[in-house]
């Protein structure tokens, strides 16, 4: 069946993939926006407690990838979410563009390393760490984190990694499983060749 083969080869992003990616990310962008209030409140009160919720800002990349399972969506998701945050007049401003690109790339590279074929909680957790690493780069230029006391620097990023593993890895995975149970993800996933074969019965 040549037509089917052709369709399988062209597994690029369809408009529906893109729209689902962007809509979910836009919704998460609003969540991010409110999350930054939580973050801002936490940060002066507790000693670096804010880092424990930092992983939330990478959720779009792993959640959307686990749902759609296609190359590129992790990066697009993260940038789209940041776009909304800026649109909402985020007090964190234009630096979010840079953060989002690097975070999205970090997650995307991890999924790519598994050739976009692994959708487990642990791979999502790794992608979360990838995004966290992406977020460190601008921290150096913007926040001079290299000038923190060394113990603090270590503690800060270990906490960020833990929060990424929990939120982007296990929480995102659990959420996607729950959404899969509703049957709606059938709209997003490519059709199994078995289902084409079943037509000949």
């Amino acid at each position: 069946m040549s037509e089917m083969a052709k369709r399988q080869a062209a597994r690029g992003l369809k408009l529906s993939d893109l729209l689902v990616t962007v809509l979910i990310s836009v919704v998460l962008g609003v969540v991010y926006h409110f999350w930054s209030s939580v973050y801002s409140l936490l940060s002066p009160l507790f000693f670096q407690a804010d880092e424990l919720v930092y992983g939330m800002w990478f959720l779009a990349s792993t959640l959307v990838f686990l749902l759609i399972r296609k190359p590129g969506v992790a990066l697009i998701a993260e940038v789209a979410a940041a776009h909304v945050e800026i649109l909402f007049g985020s007090e964190w401003g234009i630096q979010l563009v840079l953060y989002s690109v690097l975070q999205g790339l970090g997650a995307e590279l991890v999924f790519a390393a598994f050739r976009y074929r692994k959708f487990s909680a642990s791979v999502a957790a790794l992608a979360g760490i990838g995004a966290a690493i992406g977020s460190i780069i601008p921290d150096f230029f913007y926040g001079y984190v290299q000038d923190y006391a060394p113990w603090l620097l270590t503690a800060k990023y270990i906490m960020r990694a833990i929060s990424s593993v929990v939120i982007c890895g296990y929480f995102a995975y659990g959420l996607v499983k729950a959404v899969e149970a509703t049957g709606v993800t059938a709209l997003l996933r490519p059709v199994d060749p078995k289902d084409y074969a079943a037509l000949d019965k």
Binding site: S16, A178, A181, T182, A186, V191
Partner: protein, 523 residues
């Protein structure tokens, strides 16, 4: 005959499903024909529509094949849900999207927009108007306008009036009729009253549950010959209400024995100079009203008149002012849902009132049906044994037996609705509020829901139902409340209510309601 769209030996099957939707179906539509596809819910009519224009498999991948297919030269499709057909926030921008896609020069755009809006009968003071500000019926006509800008030869209509109120239904079909000239129409629709009254259709194809056509021909012929099938498939054919209520089942529903001695039972709800508020502003005012055990209150009125607001304030999700006696005690408060959230434990409202939302999915909280029904009971801390008993009783009562392991989202539209009523009524509250429970449902499911409500009513539950169906108010209700512009403008005890309660004269302004003689359309 000149063919507009055709498919032969179509095989189609949803991934992971056992049964074929279509197995070797041949189907063709001639140029200029106006064809109506009928059949039970889930028989694949909408799927066929999408195959005929190539949406399946070009845009939506579903396993299918055919020996040959002819796609229309140009086509446009109008979907069911008015809210999911737009990509831009403003009317002009949305229409421009369709024109941009076709490469129409900027200078011509405004004229074309105004022209097409006139064609669909949508008069707007300003084209740069937020789409959100339009009613559902207007949105659907805007969606039609946007489709017409593509100048389609074949117009496919996928239940375009299913989610509209009667006024919206009338107007969308009028708009379609005005633009039908010279076009091929392929229509899927369950609600046929308005559509057939306009004489829009010249061929009807009736499908069976397994996707096989069981008959076709001119409307009058099909409706005469396949009366029993139409009834069984839940199609809203003209006269379906009258047929149902004259059937044995319908008679059983109507003929309740009067509630002896119920007149002296204390009132469940008494409202007096009552107002429901949003952001401190009254959105619904009720001068005087009351509800007894065993009442069936039908609330009707135009969209946005305040019907849903009344339900929300009765259950305490909106703050309210004035006298609201719930089982004799003053209820309602100026603060609304906050207090309900905080003091839920001692809140009488949630214990006295059940609530069925318009969209069942938003009410579901569990992954399995029995857990879904048991949820509120578990939150109340009722013993496991009692819960199991009540759940299995509900499963039987609401015809959900055999679906235990299904995820609630995976149920059919009718099953979802029954489950949502089961979940809301399981606490056996004396009052059940329902927000348009028959909306978008087929006739069979609508009658099933009404039968369930009537059953609860006979056990003494007061049913309060917001609805667009005049006939529910006419045949089943004991009280009919009409809401307009944020006010309860009329409140009458229906003949049925007067019979059941032995009530005296009418309260409020009595209005004589005449129902259109649908049954005569095809005499």
């Amino acid at each position: 005959m000149n063919i507009a769209a055709e498919v032969t030996a179509l095989r189609l099957k949803f991934p992971g499903e056992e049964n074929f939707v279509f197995k070797d179906l041949d189907f063709s539509v001639g140029r200029g024909e106006k064809v109506l596809l009928l059949g039970p819910s889930g028989c694949g009519k909408s799927t066929l529509l999408q195959v005929l224009c190539g949406i399946i498999p070009n845009l939506v991948e579903i396993p299918m094949r055919s020996t040959s297919q002819r796609l229309p030269d140009s086509w446009g499709i109008l979907f069911q849900d008015p809210d999911t057909q737009f990509c831009m926030p403003y009317v002009d921008e949305e229409l421009a999207f369709a024109l941009e896609n076709r490469g129409i020069p900027r200078e011509e755009m405004m004229d074309r927009m105004e022209d097409v809006l006139t064609k669909v009968g949508l008069a707007l003071p300003d084209l740069h108007m937020p789409i959100d500000a339009l009613s559902q019926g207007m949105k659907q006509r805007l969606a039609l306008a946007s489709v017409l800008l593509g100048e389609p030869e074949v117009l496919l209509l996928d239940e375009p009036s299913a989610l509209l109120d009667p006024e919206g239904r009338e107007q969308i079909w009028q708009a379609i009729l005005r633009n039908a000239e010279g076009r091929t129409l392929i229509i899927v629709e369950h609600r046929l009253e308005e559509l057939l009254a306009l004489g829009l259709v010249d061929r009807v194809v009736l499908f069976g549950p397994d996707g096989i056509p069981i008959g076709e021909g001119a409307p009058a012929y099909v409706f005469a010959k396949f009366q029993a099938e139409l009834e069984r498939f839940g199609i809203w054919y003209p006269g379906v209400w009258e047929d149902f209520f004259s059937s044995e089942e319908g008679q059983r529903l109507l003929n309740a024995s009067p509630l002896e001695g119920r007149r002296d039972v204390p009132k469940l709800v008494e409202l007096s100079r009552y107002q429901g508020l949003r952001q401190g502003q009254p959105v619904i005012s009720v001068e005087q009203a009351d509800i007894h055990p065993g009442d069936f209150v039908a609330i009707t009125g135009p969209n946005g008149a305040g019907k849903s607001s009344l339900l929300l304030s009765l259950i305490g999700l909106l703050p309210s002012e004035g006298v609201y006696l719930l089982q004799g005690e003053q209820s309602g408060h100026r603060k609304g849902s906050k207090r309900m959230g905080k003091r839920r434990k001692d809140n009488r409202m949630a214990r006295s009132i059940g609530f069925v939302f318009q969209n069942p999915e938003f009410q579901f909280v569990a992954d399995r049906i029995p857990d879904e029904i048991a949820f509120s009971l578990k939150q109340d801390g009722i013993a496991e044994q009692d819960i199991a008993e009540r759940v299995s009783h509900s499963m039987r009562q609401f015809s959900l037996v055999g679906l235990e392991e299904r995820h609630p989202y995976q149920l059919s539209l009718g099953q979802k609705r029954r489950l949502s009523v089961a979940g809301a009524a399981v606490r056996r509250q004396p009052i059940l509020l329902l927000d348009e429970p028959t909306f978008g449902q087929d006739a069979v499911n609508t009658f099933a829901i009404l039968a369930l409500c009537e059953e609860l009513r006979r056990q003494g539950t007061a049913i309060v139902m917001v609805t667009h169906e005049e006939r529910i108010a006419h045949y089943l209700a004991t009280q009919h409340w009409e809401i307009r512009g944020g006010r309860l403008v009329s409140r009458e005890h229906t003949p049925r209510g007067r019979h059941l309660f032995g009530r005296g004269e009418v309260e409020g302004a009595r209005k004589e309601r005449s129902l259109r003689p649908y049954a005569q359309i095809f005499s």
